[in-house]
């Protein structure tokens, strides 16, 4: 390979991709805030933002302009440098992860003046992509703790501490869930994991039903989203770790939260939902689905997860902190360890083993669902009675 060609493959194309991705992700996070507000409004039977631009689509542009003109208040007693460092430390890993997300396969295109160029819908395909994702996203935790600590405010400090405890607690089941996906694909490269789902002729959601569930629940906790948004529980901690942040420093925390939601959804798609592959990649009868380009499949799947995120927010109340810790350590970790052993056992049996595990898991899940709904339908809901303490007080009065 001559030098100009390697400069092109290793520097110019990645540089262009990096710029495009950073801009796209920042915009997507903005648009996502608008979509979230509209969807929440829809779930709560109200209108939501609908004034700026057609149907309010330009709301996020107005918000960015507003935030840019806001005062950037740094409390007098704060650690100034760390207070500035924290949002950057949250944002850089949040955006850097997007380098390895596999949005689509390799493709060849013709650029005038350069000839044919084969490149891909991802900036980098490493043999340790998945490890890199877990490593880089963990760095964001530092930003949150440092932000909470440097603010020199009680609420910020408490929010930061809680956040640290929550994020590291849910790293563990997430790590184990990811290992079970690696067991199935036998690779740490996200591109190879997606391709493995073609050779296995099934999405890994089939044998990875429990793993996916563990991954997504931990993912929601990792992004500090409702019902796990304890670091910023408004009703108890004012605004948690970013109480003392305003202007664009605050906006960076906010945008990164949405960027992280996209990351979690994208990884879940790549690991368990066949990445850019169409549904049932081996069934020829469904070949007409190939009309939809791979990238669109990926975006479509990721959008579904993002909708689930918003749906959660519209549906679930917040956990209490002890409940959160109990769920993480006493429920998710034992389940994830058991699941890991099960998946390993199935993976020993190769394609057939995984398929059997998938059928058993889905059979059990569907069976349990049918039994529960039958029981609910057969038995009318018991009349609600007040707890004993309330009844005693009512009797006294």
């Amino acid at each position: 390979m001559d030098i100009s060609a390697s400069v092109l493959t290793y520097f110019l194309i990645p540089a262009v991709k990096a710029v495009v991705v950073v801009i796209l992700v920042a915009t997507a996070a903005g648009v996502l805030t608008y979509i979230e507000r509209r969807t929440l409004a829809f779930l709560q039977v109200r209108k939501g933002p609908n004034r700026v631009g057609p149907e309010g689509i330009l709301q996020f542009v107005a918000d960015v302009v507003k935030l840019l003109t806001k005062e950037d208040v740094v409390p007098a007693k704060a650690q100034h440098f760390i207070h500035f460092l924290a949002p950057v430390l949250v944002m850089v890993p949040g955006l850097a992860v997007f380098a390895v997300l596999p949005w689509g396969p390799e493709f060849t295109m013709r650029i005038p003046g350069l000839g044919k160029i084969t490149t891909a819908w991802y900036a980098a395909d490493l043999n340790v992509s998945l490890l890199l994702v877990l490593a880089i996203t963990s760095v964001g935790i530092y930003g949150i703790i440092l932000g909470g600590w440097a603010s020199n405010s009680k609420y910020a400090l408490l929010g930061g501490l809680r956040s640290a405890a929550q994020l590291i607690s849910y790293e563990v089941p997430m790590g184990f869930a990811v290992v079970s996906a690696i067991l199935m694909a036998r690779s740490l490269s996200l591109v190879e994991i997606v391709e493995a789902q073609r050779t296995h002729q099934m999405w890994f959601i089939l044998p990875g039903l429990v793993s996916f569930f563990l991954y997504f629940v931990s993912g929601v906790a990792e992004t500090n989203r409702i019902p796990f948004d304890l670091p910023e529980a408004e009703s108890e901690l004012v605004a948690g770790f970013h109480t003392e942040y305003s202007g664009f420093r605050w906006a960076i925390f906010f945008l990164t939260e949405y960027a992280n939601m996209i990351t979690i959804s994208a990884i879940a798609t790549a690991l368990f939902f066949g990445g850019w592959l169409r549904p049932f990649p081996s069934v020829h009868a469904l070949a007409f689905l190939d009309v939809v380009p791979p990238v669109l499949w990926y975006v479509l799947k990721v959008s579904c997860f993002l909708f689930v995120y918003i749906w959660f927010r519209g549906t679930f109340p917040r956990y209490r902190f002890d409940q959160l810790m109990a769920l993480g350590w006493k429920t998710l970790i034992p389940i994830s360890l058991t699941n890991l052993v099960l998946v390993a056992l199935a993976a020993l049996g190769g394609f057939r083993g995984l398929r059997i595990l998938g059928i058993v898991l889905w059979g059990a899940a569907i069976g349990a669902f049918l039994i529960v709904t039958r029981l609910r339908a057969a038995k009318p809901p018991a009349a609600k009675t007040a707890p004993a303490s309330v009844r005693a007080r009512a009797a006294e009065a």
């Binding site: 290793y10 520097f11 990645p14 540089a15 991709k17 990096a18 950073v22 840019l68 003109t69 806001k70 005062e71 740094v74 409390p75 007098a76 704060a78 950057v88 944002m91 850089v92 955006l95 850097a96 380098a99 900036a123 980098a124 395909d125 490493l126 043999n127 998945l130 490890l131 880089i136 600590w149 020199n152 405010s153 009680k154 609420y155 400090l157 640290a164 405890a165 590291i168 790293e171 563990v172 790590g175 184990f176 290992v179 036998r186 490269s189 004012v238 109480t243 202007g247 664009f248 960076i252 810790m325 109990a326 350590w329 006493k330 970790i333 360890l337 390993a344 993976a347 020993l348 190769g350």
Partner: protein
């Protein structure tokens, strides 16, 4: 794919992110309002005058969680390379990891019994 050059895009992406961060924060500092008052710059205390320092002693629970996390995350790190290669090894490799996970589970059960995961 495994060469150091393959990591270059990630470095570029980080630089892009830092660039965007500095650009936006700089813009904010440039065009944002600047009206500083003593009250505004004091830490938030729900409108009350600030009573004491906010860096107080921290509940030991947080330290325990952090230590337990380090244990479990290191174990998980051992599992990544194993998960990639274990199918070549077959049953012996699987059984070895089963022993490993079992020992991990014993420690987990001990911590549970000691109440490391109870939060009150």
């Amino acid at each position: 794919m495994g060469t150091p050059l393959a990591f270059l895009p990630i470095l570029l992406m980080m630089m892009g992110a830092v660039g965007v961060g500095i650009l936006l924060l700089g813009l904010n500092a440039l065009i944002g309002r600047k009206v500083r008052t003593v009250r505004k710059l004091s830490p938030y205390e729900s409108g009350m005058p600030l009573l004491d320092d906010s860096h107080k002693r921290i509940s030991v629970k947080f330290f325990i969680v952090a230590m337990v996390f380090i244990l479990f995350d290191v174990e998980a790190a051992f599992l990544y390379p194993w998960a990639v290669v274990f199918r070549q090894g077959g049953w012996p490799v699987f059984l070895e990891m089963l022993v490993f996970v079992f020992v991990l589970f014993l420690g987990f059960a001990y911590l549970w019994k000691k109440g490391a995961f109870d939060w009150d």
